[in-house]
């Protein structure tokens, strides 16, 4: 009986902590999500949408990677990707290679690339939140900036 109560308490504690309202984001650990790239603020939406699609294609062409989440705000593009398990030994090298090639191909934008799973998770969540009309540009921009700050954190 004690064990059952203990288990129920633990499950309640864990589910109570849950801050993810979306359905897709928590599953992105176990499956490939291929989220559509999204735009937060842009002066030329059509051109930028095309640009994002071509970047997504470029990123997913890398044989070391298998999933990419991309979001653009003004001149910044955040690229979060997942690295294949055995390629994780070369994570730093892959990051440098990807960033260098993206910066060479698209010199007008600033790239922030990350292989961190948390960043991927947050970008997928941002994509999902942006689908609802209540989530306006200001909120999206704030979340974007939070993700960028989180990506810079080292300790």
């Amino acid at each position: 009986m004690k064990k059952i109560i203990g288990m129920v308490l633990i499950i309640m504690l864990i589910t109570g902590c849950s801050k993810h309202e979306s359905e897709e984001a928590p599953l992105s650990l176990v499956k490939v999500t291929h989220p559509t790239p999204s735009l937060i603020q842009s002066d030329h939406r059509d051109d930028d949408a095309e640009l994002l699609q071509s970047i997504e294609k470029d990123v997913e062409d890398y044989k070391e990677l298998y999933d990419a989440a991309i979001v653009k705000n003004k001149d910044q593009i955040l690229v979060a990707y997942k690295v294949k398990h055995l390629q994780r030994f070369h994570m730093k090298k892959i990051e440098k290679k990807l960033k260098d090639s993206l910066e060479k191909d698209y010199p007008d934008v600033e790239f922030i690339v990350s292989s961190d799973f948390k960043i991927f998770l947050e970008v997928v969540e941002l994509h999902e939140k942006m689908k609802s009309p209540e989530f306006d540009v200001k909120k999206a921009e704030k979340k974007f900036n939070n993700i960028v700050e989180l990506q810079k954190e080292l300790t």
Partner: protein, 157 residues
Amino acid sequence: MSGQNKKTPDQEKYQQLEQKHETKRPVLKNCIRAFWVGGLFCVVGQALTYFYIYFFNFTEQTASNPTVATMIFIAMLLTGFGVYDRIGQFAGAGSAVPVTGFGNAVISAAIEHRTEGFVLGVGSNMFKLAGSVLLFGVFSAFIIALIKTILVYMGVI
């Protein structure tokens, strides 16, 4: 002195007799036990890392700090309840090598010297074993950092 290595016939006979009756050390069995119990600790650690990534604002890079702290804390509690001793007896190196072994070393020394008082007993003996882990850990980290700094300075990496 070479004379010490030579054994008398009686001694050799005794050694053969001893070897016949000695219980063989089950090296392979111990290795397998250490492997899967140690691996199990790592699975728990990985699960904790994902827990911190999912439910708190930790990235893959920063989540290792709270994970290590939690694992050590759990090992300390288990040592206090007497569970970790049993795991240690079963798994050997599998329970000593992961970071949880550090928590166990601290608390078991504290429990052992509790009767000698808090200052001269617990206080001075708590890091009896863990102290060497800290010392050589810090020292080797220093050496590695030094080598890296030199290599970076030389432009190798």
